[in-house]
């Protein structure tokens, strides 16, 4: 059982010292044409500036992304330069779990008393993804070429299946009903637009103007471009690509960044816009499920997390998932006997897209904002990742 006074006792997340860009769908914004690493670092400085958090507070920077970007070799130190500091740091990458994994890594850096304030900066650009050329003379092709986003979506080297196939397999395993899947999808859109209309997104998303090389504004990221209202009828009318998987019931690639800080107790009080709010990362777990059953992995991670914490879902105020497929939420609901309406009340990656690296960071921020709005409580965030991996974390907002 996780005890409040022992687990990551030195670690806090200062409320408000966070934010993200909107996540425009791939090819739908000027982000399709930028060095996303540099953009993300400059955006982090801008966001923290808006929160009145000088970047000079950062002792360390943990960056995370999954798609190669220009000068990736230089990773966190270069990103730190781009945000105006010369802090050390390093880069983490675990496919779609990156956004949460980076937070955990930052927490461990703080917990071992190395640093008082660690920045977490996650980002990705799925648009115009890079193409890698691999001289591999033992293979039949002798030289392999891979398009970094699409080829990975389509082929898991461990199973030879695609991401999409995992959703179909899971749907069949749990005997999911297409009707319910469409209802979940429709509900998620309703939840997103309700939260948006209520101004929820504006609490943590900062609109960002993008400049060209001449310093002219070429566009403003002021919406999750590409996200449109859907109707239940239209969802029902869509063709299945696999069992319970339609184009409406799966997420779409997008571009974006997200950032937050992980700090010591004292530093959190200093940097938080509401020091009376205390946010703790209690635990994080990973699981790996059977081959090709990725959508069930997050549920298993949550089971393990709650078991270790000595909690049940009844104790949890906010449940939020990275759900590239509606199947993920349906599986969770079925296994955990949890009403899927209670999940993802302020939006989710099924709707606003999936730039991979920053997806779970934005989800954590949204979940913590929601918990604050509810007056505090436990927060569970979960997600799946390539390789049939599930990740989940428990936070406490007091």
């Amino acid at each position: 059982m996780i005890k409040n006074d022992s687990a990551l006792s030195r670690v806090r997340i200062p409320y408000g010292a966070w934010g993200s860009s909107y996540f425009p769908a791939w090819q739908a914004s000027p982000l399709a044409e930028v060095n996303i690493g540099q953009f993300a670092a400059e955006a982090m400085a801008r966001i923290l500036g808006k929160r009145k958090v000088p970047t000079s507070n950062l002792d360390y920077l943990v960056s995370g992304s999954t798609i190669p970007w220009h000068w990736k070799f230089w990773n966190s130190p270069l990103l730190s330069t781009c945000l105006g500091e010369r802090t050390p740091g390093y880069h983490v990458e675990q496919a779609c779990a990156t956004g949460l994994q980076a937070i955990a890594v930052a927490a461990s850096e703080v917990q071992c008393s190395c640093y008082d304030a660690v920045g977490v900066l996650t980002f990705d650009r799925t648009s115009d993804s890079s193409v890698g050329v691999f001289p591999e003379r033992r293979t039949n092709q002798r030289t392999a070429v891979i398009s970094d986003v699409w080829d990975n979506f389509g082929f898991d080297p461990a199973t030879a299946g695609s991401m999409l196939v995992t959703a179909g397999l899971a749907a069949r395993k749990y005997k999911l009903d297409r009707k319910e899947i469409d209802e979940i999808t429709y509900c998620r859109y309703q939840q997103y637009f309700a939260a948006k209309d209520a101004g929820f997104l504006k609490r943590f998303i900062v609109p960002l103007e993008v400049l060209n090389a001449q310093g002219k504004v070429v566009g403003c990221l002021d919406s999750d471009a590409g996200v449109r209202q859907v109707t239940l009828e239209s969802l029902r009318s869509m063709n299945e690509m696999d069992t319970c998987v339609t184009s409406g019931a799966q997420t779409h690639p997008s571009d974006g960044m997200a950032t937050l800080l992980v700090t010591s107790v004292d530093k959190a009080a200093e940097l938080s816009s509401k020091p009376e709010i205390e946010i703790r990362l209690m635990a994080k777990v990973d699981v790996r499920t059977s081959p090709g059953l990725m959508p069930e992995a997050p549920t298993m991670a949550v089971q393990k997390l709650l078991s270790q914490a000595g909690l049940t879902l009844n104790d949890i105020a906010v449940v939020k998932s990275h759900n590239p497929f509606s199947v993920n939420d349906a599986v969770f609901s079925k296994i955990m006997d949890y009403d899927w309406i209670k999940m993802n009340r302020t939006g989710c990656s099924l709707v606003w897209g999936h730039p991979q690296g920053p997806t779970l960071t934005r989800i954590v921020i949204e979940a913590l904002e929601e918990a604050v709005e509810l007056g505090g409580g436990y927060v569970v965030v979960m997600g799946c990742a390539a390789g049939d991996v599930g990740i989940a974390a428990l936070f406490e907002v007091a």
């Binding site: 801008r46 923290l48 009145k52 993008v210 090389a213 310093g215």
Partner: protein, 695 residues
Amino acid sequence: MEKALRRPSLETLGLGSVLGIFKRGVLPAETSDLVDRVFGAGGDRGCLVISGANGIVGAGKTMQLASRLIPYGITIAALDFPGAPAGLSKQFSGLARSFGKEQAAQIISNVVQFTYDGSHLPKQLAALKPRFLLEAVPEILEIKKSHYQMFHAAFPEIEIRSVTSGFPARELGVGVAHPAFPHEINKVFEVVEPKPSPITQLLWSLGLIPVMVSDDWSFVLDVLFCGVMLASCRYNAATNMPAWKIDKYVRELVGPGPFRAHDAIGAKGANFLTWSCLDHLAQKYGELFTPTKSLVDHKQSGQDWYPPNHLRPMVNWTLDDIEKQEFRTWILGPLFQMTSLLLHEKRSELSQMNAIGEMCAQFRQGVIALARWYGSEKVTRTVEAYHQLHPAAANSPWYPEEFTKMDSAEWQQLYVNAEHDGTVGVITFARESYNQDVDIELNQAIDWLKGEGIERVIVTSDFHLATQLVGADTSDFFPALEDQAKGVALSQKWSQTARRLHDEFATSVGFVNGKRCLGGFLELLQHCHYVVAVESADLGMPEVTLPVVPGMEGCHWMFRKSSPESWPKVLSLLLEGRSVKATTALGWLVDYSGPLTECVRTCWSIARGESALQRRAVNANRLTGVFTEPKGIAPVTGPGLQAARQAILESIRNSCSAPLSEAITIQARHSGAFMSSTACRTGAVGLAFAKTASV
């Protein structure tokens, strides 16, 4: 009995008043006499030594002084280490652009370069008889002191001035002549001496602008320049806004782009100098001046503030109204607090303190004039608000009472002064371009002279801070680019001021004593009953090239004051934008032109009513018969010029064909309307607006 609205600027150099120049009929000092006093006369003439001559300061000053001293046979000994980068040779192209290759080569040939090891002077130097050392070695006190010892040991009589930007003369043991960037062309030297020496007066006589400042740590320029840099660094530290964007907002607010300036000067040296000045100031005055961590880091790394080309910024930064207010507090708060210190310690005359900011630190409006616009109460509130943001600064000196003296003539007449002897008055401009501050002060100066019962006046530049009169400050046109009514009002107001010189004095004499008089200032002086110009002066109306339409009655006044035979020349002046020499403008722009001394005497005799020169009357009637299509005007290139010519012709046609009483409004309408046109907004004024006022 002579009276002055405020102390004449020239007097601070020990050179008397401007009125005195006219009364005596000669300049207060002759260059050849001063050269003799500084370098020795005839066969005993010695040389000028510049040490650190390959550095940015040393190389610039070597060229600037060499070009001016060559007529007097003064050799420049340029001294530096053997391995110093060749800064002097880089100056040649600029010199050739200014003087032509032949003369540039002649100037260079008079510069003798020596190398030394830092502790032993080259033996051959003695043959040149060093009389004056301008020291530009690194900004380290002990190095400077030992440098002086070495020179004093070898040449006991030598006069030494340091170009230091930070060390007081009392620490150095020698006087200070601190020049401003860019060193090859900026004429200003901040001078620290117990009283103005022949060296200082020689600088003035050579057409440079020495300004006396007090003997304190860092001088006026560096308190302002380093101050605005520090304020910008602090804003960066508080908000994360990157340097390039802070520059844009600072430029919009006050004028300079501090980070870009450091990079342009050379980040390594400039960051060190700024840090050095601030560090010394912080030791004496506390946290207000303490360099930020970022400045210390850049001092150590020598890295530019702007990102390299391959990391050009991607994310824009904009400020909402509340953030803008906070930004103003971060920048102006420390600047005003530092200014209170400058005022309290009487670091310089107010007009000169103000001018230093404008001429050397890119302030659109000097910091004193800026404070005056804000008013005492708002200045105090701004500094107090700054102390909320940066509490440690509240422990540094802050003298709000200094801003309560704004009603005094010293505060009120920063740019325009007036003197009189009971009969003749002199109005002098200490600013080379005309702006709304100058306009207000000119009206106050006229009011004062009128109040003193003065009916005869000479209007001219101040023989010190303004060495030429270049026309309107086009940044005052920025509001008119987006609001035609503001342009019309500006033109109307400035024209009304100009008319006072014509209507309210029995005799007024406009005197061009510098190398040029252009645009708005030429229009202004044309309103005087007489215009006198030194023979070398260029006179012109370059408005068409900007393009703008002349708005101080240039489109009709010159026609009304000249004979129809001269009208084609006036048309050419207005439509082509080319300058003419004063000597060729006799009879239609100028009533007398000659050598400076003759001009001074002529002005005085006209003003006293002792000249036989005929006054050219202003025709107040409708003018007819001239305004057909102009002939002999050079063909136009570009749509902007075409539009401007059309607009100027329209203005000429309509304002000339009206009686004088109505013409002022008509020409103001034309001028104002053109400022909001596409041609103006896409021309030089519009581009300047986009660069400085549009963030």
